[in-house]
Amino acid sequence: MARMVGDEVLEQAPALRRRRAARRRLHRLDALLSPYLYVGSFFVVFCAFGLFPLGYTAWMSLTDRNLLDPTTHFVGLDNYTALLHDSYFWNAVENTLAIWAISTIPQLLLALGLAHLLNTKLRARTFFRMSVLLPQVTSVVAVALIFTQLFSRDYGLFNYVLGGVGIGPVDWEAGRVSSWIAISTMVTWRWTGYNALLYLAAMQAIPDDLYESAAIDGAGRWKQFWHITVPMIRPTIIFTVIISTIGGLQLFTEPYLFQPLKNGALGGSARQYQTVAMYLYEKAFGSSQFKFGYAAAIAWCLFLIIVLISIVNYLLVRRIRSAES
């Protein structure tokens, strides 16, 4: 009996081994290929809606493509040379950078302070934490419309308050710097809470014993904030700086809706608050031009500007870290 069983086992063994080997191969193949399959779906979508438009825009920027003209010619770098001599483009770059600086820097500092306050033992903490996110869930259109009324020349709230302290009515929309401030206020109001929550999440990951030992060493709250909190959440700071740079330089909706007449995207009578994204829109879709080739060149220049400034920002933020630690 025992022999027979042993024989059977011996006879079955190669088949079993083969099956096991096949299974192992399959398993190895699974381990090897399925991760690609999982990420693959993202890359298919990314190629179709990210990479392809990017490449197509690059090609279009080298042509004189116009939506109204069925024929398209290759023009080389003509669009880019024209752009470099286009004073309206440089005006838009200047406006964009100014609005970005006026909105992003106070916004991130405010968010840092706000997050610090929310991280302390407040009463009704969850309520406050949730309420800083409220501006984020309101629609941009509503924000822009309400702020446009607040910044209205004759009956706006801001001028009413300023009038109370004797500062004569400011025509926010007409002035250059004043329109920048008005638009920056909308951006800051909308994004401060969002950044504060990101900082808060990072702050909560800081172990308490760091603060405790610092307190024992005699570090005050301010010192603790600068020497423990800020260095510990630095990756988050870098993240928010990069993200708000990208968002700020692509600014469109707020200044577009700030215009009294939403006919075209001139950004004020003297283009005092026309951003690069608005200028792109003017050239591509603004009532009758449809200069897609030229607009594509603007898009690529905007992309380069964003990359450049992001790198500079990253280096700056990193430098501060190395100096501190």
């Binding site: 109204l68 446009t148 009324q149 007449l261 001139l266 009532s287 449809f290």
Partner: protein
């Protein structure tokens, strides 16, 4: 754990299976129903409500097998999307509404639209106001669209402010006050001399300027289709006259459609405003409490128009014949008369403008002024003008130019120079 996982997997699979089956059945069902009948579905794409619902029903009843589907979008997106769909050759509806501000852009590419002469448009030409019909005529005389309504133009004015400033308040006398635009600006000087504090003669220079430009022929384009903004003395004269009004302090400097402009209606900041027929509803909506304080007088010069639309059939439509027939129906005298009754949109056909329902139409909000008669006469007096593809952009640039002066950012001469540069940039 494993068993639960297995169970869940089966649930997921079952749900996916059910969804796939439902979609597949749905697809089969729709294709089957589409194939089973030989029906035509006509898509009509409009901006805002044109008051066509009952007319569709009427048309469908008279044409068995035709189903009409209406799509409504906002003014700006509608026209941008139409331009994209025409350019890419797909997606446009069978009947597309085009506003007068955008019509030059599409008549410039008449090859992309059905020439409605093929469907007898030239035989019906005399139905429409000559300038209205002409606006939709493209290269080689192709008729791109047929006119629906017109905005016409008059001057809405505040009787109470006029009385305080010592100007006549009766609408016949007020109309006599300004036979020309020069007289209008002069009346403004009279108003400003005794004006109630904080009030101005008109809302913004660009509205006055655009009304003047509307009466010119040629204005921005000559018969050869060239841009003549820089060389046309009449354009410069209109600009200069506007500037003299601004210099005399007649302008409230409120950009049209801004929040300040809207508040200006409520607070009675300006005494007159260039007023197309559709502006009556706008004023009522913005300042309902000013009822009875307004009246309406004739426009200076030779009539005017601001707004109004056309219906066109893109060539990419696979039902051009049926769509053209629907366009003819919707713009027929009977339909336009019906729409006027429904919405108050002014017809674009002289016979209707002269008909009793329009001529006897009065508006109680505007002191019972015979608005039908005033607007009809203004539309009837206007002469045709040659438009060009960049009309809208030139107008935007001119508005910015006038605003720069009103906002004290530039001198009239400098602003004019930049305007010419912008025009060259846009249309050159």
């Amino acid at each position: 754990m494993k068993r639960i996982h297995g169970g869940r997997r089966w649930q997921v699979l079952a749900v996916i299976g059910a969804i796939t089956a439902a979609v597949a059945v749905g697809l089969v069902a729709t294709t089957a129903s589409a194939k089973s009948r030989d029906d035509v579905t006509l898509r009509v794409s409009l901006f805002g409500d044109f008051g066509y619902h009952d007319l569709y029903k009427q048309y469908e009843a008279a044409h068995p097998g035709v189903t009409i589907k209406e799509e409504i979008q906002e003014y700006g997106p509608h026209h941008t999307q139409l331009a994209q769909r025409i350019a890419t050759g797909a997606g446009a509806a069978d009947v597309e509404a085009i506003e007068v501000g955008f019509i030059p852009q599409f008549t410039a590419q008449a090859q992309n639209f059905a020439d409605l002469r093929k469907y007898g448009a030239d035989g019906m030409k005399s139905r429409w106001l000559p300038w209205k019909y002409q606006q939709a005529v493209g290269k080689g005389g192709a008729v791109v669209g047929l006119g629906t309504d017109v905005g016409s133009l008059a001057i809405c004015y505040r009787k109470d402010l006029f009385a305080k400033a010592g100007l006549p308040t009766n609408r016949v006398q007020v109309s006599k006050l300004w036979p020309t635009w020069q007289a209008y600006i002069n009346a403004g000087k009279r108003y400003q001399a005794k004006a109630p504090k904080g009030t101005f003669f008109f809302d913004t220079g660009s509205n006055v300027y655009n009304a003047m430009i509307g009466q010119l022929n040629p204005a921005y384009y000559n018969a050869e289709g060239e841009v003549i903004v820089a060389t046309n003395p009449s354009v410069k004269a209109a600009y200069n006259l506007t500037m003299s009004g601004i210099a005399a302090g007649e302008s409230a400097g409120l950009p049209a459609f801004s929040t300040q402009w809207n508040t200006g209606y409520k607070k009675g900041v300006f005494a007159t405003v260039t007023c197309p027929a559709w502006m009556m509803g706008y004023i009522q909506g913005q300042a309902p409490k000013t009822k009875g304080k307004w009246d309406i007088a004739a426009t200076p010069g030779t009539g005017g128009n601001w707004g109004g639309s056309f219906l066109a059939v893109p060539k990419q439509s696979s039902h051009q014949d049926e769509a053209a027939d629907l366009v003819k129906f919707l713009t027929s005298p009977a339909s336009e008369a019906y729409v006027f009754k429904q919405t108050g949109n002014l017809p674009s056909q002289p016979a209707l403008l002269k008909s009793a329902p329009v001529q006897s139409f009065k508006n109680p909000f505007f002191s019972n002024a015979p608005v039908g008669q005033i607007f009809a006469n203004s539309a009837l007096r206007l002469k045709p003008q040659i438009l060009g593809p960049h009309q809208g952009d030139i107008q935007n640039a001119s508005t910015a130019a006038i605003d720069r002066v009103q906002q004290h950012k530039q001198s009239p001469a400098k602003s004019w120079a930049q305007f010419l540069k912008d025009v060259k940039n846009v249309a050159g």
